[in-house]
């Protein structure tokens, strides 16, 4: 025992033991080789509850090295609880560099958004997935859903989308919108807004998905076809917003509604905080940006 050992408990690099990493790494390689297929893996207890991203954390811990730069986002934001604590976790157990800038990160762990800044080759996007099985709410039995994937029998999913149209006049699914990967497996893109689905199609970045509680890992290699399911007469379309971001005036980005008071005032701002900050640093101003508002006046300038 040295004097150092009294400081803190010491863990293996990136928390997981080496045998666990090997098991997860083998699952990742199989996932990449069979795009969209959910590879079972022996998910471990992590020092955080299921539902807080244990699947994503295990994937990140298995691929990360000392040279990596990690970004973690939670609903597009770098500064929310889940993102901050996972970033702190990896600083503590792997001592890796962290960033909030999409372009500078080599690994981006995400909960339910894809950054607005286009990803590039060499980057890895790690998704935290709650329910990896797209057919689960249509067919609760794992034995049956496995058979449906084996036989490429996805009629039930089309019936579900059709029922949406019959009831609402349009496909009402707005998040976790099912996709077909490379013309074979139907995959749950995790509960990202369907706004992000087109970004998965032929992305230059490698996309890995980890579901800790459900013990599944799956992957979409770079430049792989990811097609959102739809019908000829009801083609897939993404959400549109009738106003730009209130802070940075960005258009064609995903916006969050922020409630301002109890009289119903609200504003729409970029869900991707890094993108919004970058734009404001570049001088873009929305109608609700502090600089556009008159001093002492909280009403937006028109």
């Amino acid at each position: 025992m040295t004097a150092q050992s009294t400081d803190i408990a010491t863990y293996n690099f990136a928390y997981l033991d080496e045998q666990t990493k090997r098991m997860i790494r083998r699952a990742i390689l199989k996932g990449i080789a069979i795009p969209g297929y959910q590879v079972p893996f022996a998910s471990r207890e992590m020092p955080m509850p299921y539902g807080w991203g244990t699947g994503g954390v295990q994937v990140t811990a298995s691929i990360i090295g000392p040279d990596d730069v990690l970004k973690v986002i939670d609903q597009g934001a770098d500064d929310t609880t889940n993102a901050v604590s996972i970033r702190a976790f990896f600083r503590k157990v792997a001592n890796v560099a962290v960033t909030t800038e999409t372009a500078k990160a080599s690994i981006i762990q995400t909960r339910h958004r894809i950054p607005e800044h286009p990803l590039k080759a060499g980057q890895v996007l790690v998704y935290q997935v709650p329910i990896p099985e797209p057919l689960r709410f249509l067919e609760p039995r794992e034995t049956e859903t496995r058979k449906m994937h084996a036989l490429e029998e996805y009629g039930l999913m089309h019936v579900k989308l059709y029922e949406d149209i019959a009831r609402h006049g349009r496909i009402a699914t707005t998040y976790a919108y099912p996709v077909k990967v490379e013309g074979r497996y139907v995959m749950d893109p995790s509960p990202t807004p369907k706004f992000d689905n087109p970004k998965m199609h032929r992305s230059p970045a490698l996309q890995l998905f980890g579901a800790g509680r459900e013990k599944r890992i799956y992957a979409v290699p770079p430049f792989t076809d990811v097609v959102s399911l739809d019908f000829e007469d009801h083609p897939f379309e993404v959400q549109t917003f009738d106003q730009p971001c209130a802070l940075c005036a960005a258009e064609n980005v995903y916006l969050d509604e922020v409630i301002l008071d109890d009289h119903g005032s609200h504003m729409f701002v970029c869900s991707d905080t890094d993108h919004c900050e970058k734009r404001r640093a570049d001088g873009h101003r929305g109608h609700f940006a502090p600089e556009t508002l008159a001093p002492g006046n909280m009403e937006p300038a028109q």
Binding site: K30, I32, P40, I63, G65, K147
Partner: protein
Amino acid sequence: MEMAAQSIEGGFADPVFNAQTVFRAVMDAMARPGSVQALPAFARPPVPLSATAGAIALSLCDNDTPLWLDLALQAAPAVKSWLGFHTGAPLANTPADAHFALIANPAEMMALDGFSQGTQDYPDRSTTLILHVTDLVSGAPLLLEGPGIETSATIAPAQMPRHFIEQWKQNNQRFPRGVDIILATADSLTCLPRTTRIKTMEA
């Protein structure tokens, strides 16, 4: 005595970080088939097992993964004891039981369909083949297409298995079942996952 020393020496100098570096090279190669990933010689296995193939085995194999060795490797007791000592991986009774297969002499290897192909329900339960090739430039050129490749990629691995293009076409047709291949040279590697299609040059 000599063999005992051979089987103990030559492992990773820095097991955690070397395994991570080797895995990332394999992951990047699997994600971008045909891209060649350079790899320093982290492991010094006994001949005829190559440094790259040995390093891949050290980073991916353990007591959960039965290993198959081809005849050239089976004939070298030092290789068996080196793999046994460093990975703890049991030797598979048949190629169809193997999670990984190490092939030192691909030109003479058995047919790809002799290895585990996985099942339609569990296509991940297939063998990953690690083939020794002398280089990736002097053989017949293979034009690759498929997931992970933006337009096309070309490699020309030397000493590939007999009738490889025909065998690989059959491997493609078994999708989602099928084997994945890691091609290891002395200092680099590249991958052919089961989704990669080899386009024949002539019409």
